[in-house]
Amino acid sequence: MSLSASPEARWTSVGLTEEEYREIVRRLGREPNDVELGLFGVMWSEHCSYKSSRKLLKILPSAGERVRLGPGENAGVLDIGGGWAVALRIESHNHPSAVEPYQGAATGVGGIVRDILSTGARPVALLDALSFGLPDSPRDRALLRGIVEGIGGYGNCLGVPTVGGETVFHSGYDGQPLVNVMCVGLVRLERLVRGRAEGEGNVLMLVGARTGRDGIHGASLLASRGLSEGGEDKRPAVQVGDPFIGKRLIEACAELVEAGWVAGLTDLGAAGLTSAAAEAAGRAGRGVVLELDRVPLREDGMTPYEIMLSESQERMLIIATPEGAGRVEAACRRWGLEAAAVGRVTGDGYLRVRWRGREVAAVPVRDLTEAAPAYERPWRAPAPVTPEPGRGVAAGPSRGGAAAPSHGGAPRPADPSEAFLDFLSSVHVASRAPVYRRYDHEVQTNTVLRPGHDAAVIRVRGTRKGLALATDGAGRWGGLDPYYAGAIAVAEAARNVSCVGAEPIGLTDCLNFGNPEDPHVMWQFRRALEGIRDACLALGIPVTGGNVSFYNETDGRQIPPTPVVGMVGLIEDIERLVPSSPRCPGALWLLGGGAVSQEGSLWQMWREGRVHGQCPPLDLSLEAAVQALVREAAGHGWIRAAHDVSDGGLLVAAAEMALSPEIPWGLRLQLPEAGDAWTAAYGEGGARVLVVPAGPEAERALMRRAEERAVPCREVGRLTEDGRVIVKSGRDAWVDVAAERAARAWKEGWAWLL
């Protein structure tokens, strides 16, 4: 690439500002050449440098007894005992998926899998948290189909089970879907590898796919600016995934790590070789010299600039001892993978690039990595809204998708039974089986709880342990109150893993926001982080790292602030896990409580096509107590099923417990006497879990412990074998439908979408 000589074109061509360019000149003491400017351009991009978020992310609690690797590494790693560790990370692939949904989603899966590989772990599970616009337009349906196919197309081929995630709809994501992919891996602690270029003289081996021109300035630049209508100009940057190479990389890396031949390991993601080499060197406080003539190329005539910035998929960088390099190459060749020694570790702290016998770039590693600019972007809270009587100050009107609060709302549906069936079959509530049936969720034969429960559970082979995995996104709350959204995303993900009987031990977060140069977006970001922090502290869960995705905007339209949490829970005895629907019917108890409201609820979203109003009050100490009680009940075998009450409220949660078995249970549910039945049935808020006690003795034990823990606890209904769903408000049957009919509405509601 030949960059124009005009000074302004120099910085804009690599996405930098004039101030940033001046800073580069100051640090180098000279003008950078084109290659060097390219290195700075990608490494100082928002995507690679986290320049708008780096300082703020420090408020998240990242320490914990189990944490072995935390933020700043390729993935977080938690010690789960018995010599095993779990690696976890979530990452967004929003922008690429908006441009090319199939390949964008597929390469999102590939990328996060290689992050996990970088710790030496074998990937054992994938989850996808997807957010879409309301599927009213062909374009949004095409995005949905393409993304679901891309996830399946890559993940199925790879042989890593896709065990969970979520799919939500909100008008704020029209044309700009969120694709957040989480991967979890397992590694023996003694085999844990880090993404560090240690040991002067060690060899940098580039392994996997050849390097082509795909994705130059792809992820980095694309994810550092918004989309505009007719984003055609950005299209050549799209990368194509090759899961066949991805699969062989997993096997080759697993062999090499097992044999102990790897001194360091890192993946090539955004900013390709530049970022992999610079970050590996930076973490170790070393330098590296790269010999570009040795990089296997897929296309002729590639320049140093293109080789350094290529985002070709399915490549890993292995740091090996000089003696080990041959063994690495042989092991890779056995899997049909190329491995080339493209550089070595040096002691001078510089990233040096050599090509055709001369040095074409020499830049201090620190300036590309930890010393990259970090900004405190201006932030501004929304104008205060006059509080309504008896209420706190509202979070302010949302600029992220949901419109300003209105106090009108849609008229109430006339018939509660018909409304119940319609809501069940709506895209918001209907069973996600049509999605997860397209993903192989059983390969590796460790999946103990398949998708469709509060959390998926995979066993740790050779032990009695299990990992409970869940994601939770809170975009629907984000536009109303980003603080609440951050906190509730953590709380609900933790509640999900608690419901299957697991102790939440760590989380990875994916923070999807609009343009950070907009002070209001920056305020949303800060508030969401504070919410995450407070919930993590209240529940005792460390954040092991994650991903920030800014610039989710199209023509100035910002997405709702969307914190997404990927949670890992640990079950010591897999026999003690609890499904979300029981194998035999029984009483239905509600643990916990709190004020509920239709404002911001899924019911409101469905009825009105948007959410507005205020978030419910947050009670993190009740949340912690409810979760601890559920885990205790699971551990003692007091409950046969547990299901979190969240999206859709009490009635939807109870209905899901009744309707998810192949032959649905009947349901009796008693709504509270006081207040509005619609709010009692579908309102959201509080910390609530529905459980099915295992019998009279278990009921007594549960009641006693609930009292001791000050958790409200009462019977609210039963699962039955009479084939009717009857919900009573006071003494009257408010909803009365055949369970079979309700099950069909819920199970088939989605069929038309895919």
Partner: protein, 224 residues
């Protein structure tokens, strides 16, 4: 007894099949795709996955791998061979089984439990099962629609080569075929995954019968 599981590049149920064979009480060893000699094993499994990334047609490239020469010789001597999912596709592409596997009727990947009917117990992989027996096993495939010309299907039925049928023919297979065997009966292909149902903790042991059959067959136990 020793069971060999072939590993092709892109196989992803190889480890699952090895583990299942051990749970069923066999010694299990991996066989490498690049080696044409397959010796010292009493039976061979071609596991599921996406060998060679499913390029061209599922199974097409794996059918040309060196190990297939050995598998061919092993099968010609009457050795028991089972292809599961992608393994079934490979056996069809290699001409060791009749028919072909194409994209599912709805063009979508399917991962869920399906109910099967056992049609014949004459193969070494179904000896422990009873004809007419109902088996619930998971499927996980996008190209599992079994296709043969109608007259060929009649012939397969007449020669007792249909091994399993779907109760609900979700993928549109000819004759609802979920598994077939060669004329001699020693080579079997099936789309569902028996290796995923050999432990109670993973949802049941319905797949164990397929593995246990091998021992009965070796002991000469036959069923009508």
């Amino acid at each position: 007894m020793r069971l060999g599981v072939v590993i092709f590049p892109g196989s992803n149920c190889d480890r699952d099949a090895l583990a299942a064979a051990e749970i069923a009480g066999y010694e299990a060893v991996p066989l490498w795709h690049g080696e044409s000699a397959v010796e010292g094993v009493d039976a061979i499994i071609l596991p599921g996955g996406f060998s060679y990334g499913d390029a061209l047609r599922a199974g097409a490239l794996a059918a040309t791998a060196p190990v297939m020469a050995g598998v061919r010789r092993f099968a010609a001597r009457g050795g028991a061979v089972l292809g599961i999912c992608n393994g079934f596709q490979i056996l069809c592409e290699a001409g060791l089984l009749p028919g072909a596997l194409t994209r599912n009727r709805d063009l979508a990947f399917h991962c869920h439990d399906v109910a099967l009917t056992v049609v014949t117990a004459r193969t070494p992989w179904t000896r422990a099962l009873a004809p007419g027996e109902r088996l619930v096993l998971p499927v996980a495939h996008g190209e599992g629609r079994y296709v043969v010309p109608p007259e060929e299907l009649d012939r397969l039925e007449a020669q007792d080569q249909i091994v399993f049928r779907y109760e609900d023919n979700f993928n549109g297979s000819c004759g609802a075929v979920a598994g077939v065997c060669n004329r001699a009966g020693n080579v079997v292909g099936m789309m569902p995954h028996p290796e995923r149902r050999v432990e109670a903790v993973l949802g049941g042991e319905a797949g164990l019968g397929v593995f246990r059959s091998l021992r009965l067959a070796a002991a000469g136990v036959t069923r009508p």
